[in-house]
Symmetry: D2
């Protein structure tokens, strides 16, 4: 299926991805990972939850860690432009027959909970509690010095359809991988906020969350994190990288949290605000697609992911396989 | 005057700043500076003009150098979102009694030339010739490895009014400097594309262009440029920096081209896409405003700038002075 | 066998490793690799040979490329402290019954050619033609911006004996790997010039040259080289890395030249001038020994190397195996 | 006076500079500066003294801070190669009629205290308590991530004579500044350990200690320190930089401790182990001598320094002046 033309006048205005809620099985272990190692800042914590933000964010949180019996993903959050966009979003999802619900969420204003057509739990809001800037409080920087949440990457059992749906609500494709045999889209990167992506979809057992990415200043911060993790008991949590992606041209590292939730540390992609930006097409058989420098990703990277609360993933009908490390 | 509330529904949709046209008195000398030293890529050149783009840009040009008897600035260009925005822009400027003209411009589609209320020549367009991506042609990177044009900074003889006007057409204030005595805005930074600014205004003899800035990957690219310039005959063209701005938190360097046009090399500011982003206020007497590390800017930096074609600058009524290096 | 105590009063004074002579089968292809890609500077070339130096070196060459039918290593060169050291070296090798010869070498003063006990061809000299400094000619920097030759790494079929011999001539062990089972030294790093090593020995089919390393300013130069190689036809020449070594704590990348000679790009090890520096011991079974971040080296890295002119390598009796990538 | 030929066979073997003892007037304030800000590690502390080491050092200390009524410098320490060197040093200084004394120093073996001909207190030792490596304990890195002490820079009222004396004891000149008018050496950089210098002498009211320098991994660590200092109350302690020196080609920053002792943060000079390394000559009137990028140093940098315990500095007869910032 060809990549759809961008929808320049979407039904409601999404500004950017905003936050993710992770269920974790040991809140203390997760705190050691996200706070003491990655370097996110605690904005609120109690016995059940820890709220985190990155260094240049003024919204209350980009990650919520919630103590639970099972590790999964509660919701993916997105910020909308203005209050009317919330009502337009509710109308859009209702018209599609998708679940919608107005929910109370701490630190947030009016919040709309929906499910996408495959059951991924999403929430939309306009107002979140705003905090004082800390990006110039350099005493607080540590770990990878995460500046902001950058994107979500999801396994999808039907990437063509996922791209069509998210394109309709305004996400624009910047790069994509095509399966040369079937002509289907094997993976796609789609943005709202002007970088390579706010969301990406990869063919596989889905829906599942493949990873959440955080933006850091430069590749040396990623090297700092590798040095720190490998000398503080986290060497086994390093899954892939460092490297430069062919797709997105970003410098990356993938690590796993104590429950296996995958986190990408990411920097150096490019600006995509032009509405006529031409998507870049890659072949699934191009060995430089994943890593410009040629190193293949490990099997775990293609197979493992976090389930979403309340949704059982299904296999993809598209069986085309990428290059996997031996 | 207080900073105005952002106009979330502007009369037409500006995507980003796009390009600048510089008149230069020795095209060969300018080529040596912009191409061989800064590292911009030539996309077209003839005896009269050189068109340049930065490494991640796909539009045909971000700088036009034009051979002339006098060094000045021809026009500041901005990309609009969609064709109807061009007509809305024409209507907006006409309604204000400001000059408007549809012009033919090489490599560009329909182009609207206007003047802002102080006479600054602006041009708006939607379509510019698109070129192949070169951001992964690493053999081409050189000099400061400029990735994209980032912003224009202008002297204004009435910053309060300039902020009001540009706010009305959708630019949103991210940071500003207030003169504590008069309560007037002494300088302001305003964006469309999600960084700290597409345009900034500084109190002074205006209108004049203070500088055009280019984004580079990280501070080491700025250090590379300093090393290169200081050993290839350009040591006298280094005006200020390197340093970190208090305002914007960006890492910067200011250099002068062979005609004295000021170029900033810039990186590491922050994402500003939230429409409810609170502007950060600085006092004119704060020594860390200009440079977080405390070093004052030289007198030339506050006094010298490039005139715009056809407009004679006037003094500002606001005589409040920043901290200037001895 | 335990690591020997350093010999603080060696029979002659070696200052540092100096140069390597590589036989290559296509001088033009090698020039494209070493000069246009790595960024070494040509100091002399003719139809048969190319002499190269790195950016902060003032001696005439650190690499000699020689057109030949077969790719191998001609000689490893070392600079001695003063003229009497040359005669002391000749006496030392003669006394051992090892081959010695005074040879004429272009661009070099009195030069002593010897073989070590395993046949590795070495040459010692005091004076080499000195060139003007170029370390501040920043226009010349390119590729990985190599600053100086850093070390040789050799396969040895008897590392314990190699360490004993090179220790006797003044090389001091900084780090080593022990085979826990046999108690033998599996690999050792030994220096003269105050870094982690001028020479290293690794257990294997030997003697062969495993690699020659060049020092670069920082890890970002290694990333630049990866980006350049992977977009100019050299992606298949990237063998291992980037990563941080456990041993030496250096940041590294291994690439192969067009004939398969292995080159390491290296930075960030530590100062070792203290004569009482305690060697650091690593276990062969420690997965962080090779790469602090845990990634194993590929099989080729353990098995392939360059033969020395005139010497047929033999297998090692020590069959202990390191961790190899699947 | 011309630079003397290097003394390749000095009377005793100095390995490197080792440590400095600073008297400080508020030990707590100094701890906040050296430990919490610069990032040195405490190896011992009590009410009267704090001992510090940098991240790759295994000797017990490179800085001793001592509570006192007056801020000055107690001693400059140097490590010798072997025990006999200590006795040779004692003989050398005694023969010159200079003060010598064997002293007891905590954490150190046999220690010889002497004065140089101008009264600078020096101490020589071979053995200092050795500590476990911490260079791979990345959790401990902070501030500028100092790796090792690099050099001392001293004001001298007679640089020609200082160079002659330190040359005699084995320090080799790498770069120097000549006063074109008098032909005298205005400043000189001299090394033992293979970098640009262990000691430097600058013309001025002397003897005084101009600064002690610490080596950091790369320029971004210096930028990190600037960001930290300028947002934690130390903006007034930033004196000069960042910049690249013409002399030494190093990247630098000068800061002042709470008592005014000057500390340089330094990286990226070059290897100087060749005994035939030709010194690089600079003219006092070359504006790129101090900073390759052209920025002059402030007046304080040329005039202020720390006195040595027991010695009153005297003016220099050489009145030639460098370029000073307005
Ligand atoms: Ca839940
Ligand atoms: Fe990602
Ligand atoms: Fe700017
Ligand atoms: Fe190596
Ligand atoms: Fe210094």
């Amino acid at each position: 299926m060809p990549v759809p033309a961008p929808n320049l006048y979407p039904p409601f205005n999404i500004v950017r991805l905003s936050h993710v809620e992770y269920s974790v099985t040991d809140l203390g272990a997760s705190r050691a990972f996200y706070v003491d190692t990655l370097g996110l800042q605690v904005t609120h914590e109690d016995d059940a939850r820890i709220y985190l933000r990155a260094m240049e964010e003024r919204g209350h949180h980009c990650v919520v860690l919630e103590q639970a019996d099972k590790a999964e993903v509660g919701v993916l959050g997105f910020k909308l432009y203005d209050e009317p966009d919330l009502d337009k979003a509710a109308g859009f999802f209702a018209l599609r027959g998708l679940p919608t619900e107005w929910v109370e969420r701490p630190h947030m204003g009016r919040t709309l909970r929906v499910r996408d057509p495959w059951g991924i739990p999403l929430e939309f809001y306009v107002k979140m509690e705003r905090l004082e800037p800390i990006h110039q409080k350099y005493r607080l920087y540590k770990g990878a010095k995460p500046l902001r949440i950058d994107h979500f990457n999801m396994f999808s059992a039907d990437v063509d359809s996922a791209v069509a749906f998210y394109n309709e609500i305004g996400f624009r494709v910047t790069e994509y991988t095509e399966d040369d045999v079937s002509g289907k889209i094997w993976a796609a990167w789609m943005h709202r906020k002007g970088g390579v992506h706010d969301v990406a979809f990869t063919n596989g057992h889905g829906p599942r969350l493949h990873h959440t990415a955080f933006w850091v200043p430069n590749p040396l911060n990623i090297i700092d994190l590798l040095d720190l993790m490998s000398t503080t008991g986290y060497v086994g949590n390093i899954e892939r990288g460092p490297g430069r992606h062919g797709i997105s041209n970003a410098f990356f590292l993938y690590v796993r949290d104590p429950d296996g939730h995958r986190i990408e540390i990411y920097c150096s992609d490019y600006q995509t605000v032009d509405p006529d930006l031409e998507p870049i097409k890659w072949s699934l058989t191009d060995p430089q697609r994943q890593t410009l420098w040629g190193a293949p990703a490990p099997r775990s990277w293609f197979e493992e992911g976090s389930t979403f609360d309340g949704i059982k993933p299904v296999p993809s009908a598209l069986t085309a396989q990428p290059i996997i490390a031996p």
